[in-house]
Subunit: 331 residues, 2 copies
């Protein structure tokens, strides 16, 4: 393929196993509500045995974002490592049938395809427990320079810093993108992820290795180690070229230099499962951004996509987002 | 376990792979909309490769029914054959964590755990394509006489007549139940299933091998080979001890001798996925029936359960049905 891509995402290739749970179950399992905790295979088996009946759907933060962007009509690709097992087949089937180009070779040995065991509490909040498995073997060799050069934006998830080899793939992709005159976007992924890699993330932003930062309010506060949103936002404004910061029902703030644009959240009826809210926001924003629609429209598309995915189980859209956006007059 | 069961179900142990599809996709695949078509492994692979991104959830008609009944508070068991593979693990996990006793040994060789590839069209109708796999090896040996004797009602799905050995298990379970002074319920499952086994199903009903028949309008018309609902209902009234016949949004009719009781459907907002509507109706009805609540309340519980499962993806309840029934004042 030699045509241009709007977005190329690098991320952990994960299948989600989603079950409802009460808050006291989280307490008994010792997991931090609302966060992503890394677990090993034995912990994964133990947690699965304890959790309730589950719905299995493809996930992965950056993968969700390109699937969402493709649903709006963006031309997208994904780089991520699965194994050639039943779970890997599910991941590959779903992302390809979502219209995203996906050609990373599946591992033939080593750990199994990654799964995230997601507990959804009655308030709709999701708590993720991720077995990284085959994602640990994503490496620089999986990053094809020609593919990166074809993409307007290379989108990288902070979670990639957990598997050591993937971090090198992340850095290589960012360098290749800039060498080709393209842009790089980063999502901070999770407050604990920011805790683990704060210094490195700050450096990526400060040095201009990324051109666009996605974060939610909690991740941003963690990045600048402050409880005050405005202080954190000022910190980001000083260091980042541009950023979109989501604040759940309070909407999002887009900043670039001295510009500050607040875009309200799209109202919802019922919060069913918050899984993928940030991923969907990035999907809508990046679709609008790479299509040159301007920040306000990009922000509205992000808000719309987020409102859709949190009113159902799972992180990916249940309807074509382009049609949804047309129906409500955002496109 | 020696305690009494309310419902013991025998059925095909299936995991559902559910994707949205347009009507023309069904036409191209050559499948009959709204029905269940049996497919082999090669057809399953071909269909999965053609269909869109999917949601994977446990299914199986009779299995869905006992999961639903258990969600109301009934004590339930299930007999059905999986293989010890990843899909079988999902089935076993989900049914056990739903509170249903499930002890059928998993096959260690032979065909894989069954999957039904379900296409949901924009009107919410579901079209099922089922690879029976390991279900083909369910046999009389899997039916434990003591367990059947402990159950108030042994519930059998018509689909069991597709795998030949399962038919023998079905007959054995029905005989054991009656020998223990218990009741037997049958669901007709599907119009094409009725087409395949019309004579035998009629005989089961006429000879009293089953005490309670579940059917939808279309299956009933197929059973009596008539396009007229009242003619079909009269036929069933003459031959069956008692029956509950569902008519989608027109509600259900419960008959026993000269008694006819119409119970309205529970109104819904949006039909999302009709998968499991009949299974859920049987769940609510059997819970009420085995608890001695009378036909009207049993019918209302059935209607409520059906209305819940068709407003979401997948055939099993997303909330405890007991709580839902209490909230709306049916319990």
């Amino acid at each position: 393929m030699s045509h241009e891509l709007d977005i190329l995402a690098l991320g952990n290739a994960i299948v989600d196993v989603i079950a409802r749970a009460q808050d006291d179950f989280l307490v008994r399992q010792g997991v931090a509500k609302g966060s992503m905790t890394l677990i090993d295979e034995a912990q994964a088996e133990k947690l699965y045995a304890a959790m309730g009946p589950a719905t299995i759907v493809s996930g992965g933060s950056a993968a969700n974002t390109v699937v969402g962007a493709a649903s709006f009509g963006a031309r997208c690709g994904f780089v991520g490592r699965i194994k050639n097992d039943a779970v890997g087949d599910v991941f590959a089937h779903d992302i390809v049938k979502s219209g995203v180009a996906f050609g990373t070779a599946a591992a033939t040995d080593g750990p199994a395809t990654a799964r995230s065991f997601i507990l959804v509490t009655p308030d709709g909040e999701r708590t993720m427990n991720t077995y990284l498995g085959a994602c640990q073997n994503l490496s620089e060799a999986d990053v094809d320079p020609a593919t990166v050069a074809r993409a307007k934006v290379t989108y990288l998830e902070g979670y990639l810093w957990d598997p050591p080899a993937a971090k090198a793939a992340f850095r290589k992709a960012a360098e290749l993108a800039h060498a080709a005159g393209r842009e790089v976007a980063l999502t901070l992924s999770d407050t604990f992820c920011v805790d683990r890699y704060r210094g490195e993330f700050r450096e990526l932003i400060r040095t201009g290795a990324v051109d666009l930062v996605f974060a939610n309010e909690h991740e941003l506060k963690s990045l600048y180690e402050t409880a005050d949103f405005d202080t954190a936002l000022d910190g980001l404004r000083t260091e980042a070229k541009r950023a979109a910061v989501t604040r759940s029902e309070k909407g999002a703030v887009i900043i670039e230099g001295s510009l500050t644009m607040a875009v309200p959240a799209t109202p919802i009826e019922t919060l069913v499962d918050a899984t993928g809210a940030g991923d969907a926001y990035a999907a809508g924003f990046l679709f609008g951004y790479t299509a040159g629609m301007g920040y306000e429209k990009a922000g509205r598309l992000g808000a719309l996509a987020a409102s859709h995915v949190i009113q159902k189980i799972g992180a990916r859209p249940a309807v074509p987002l382009k049609e949804l956006a047309e129906q409500v007059g955002v496109l």
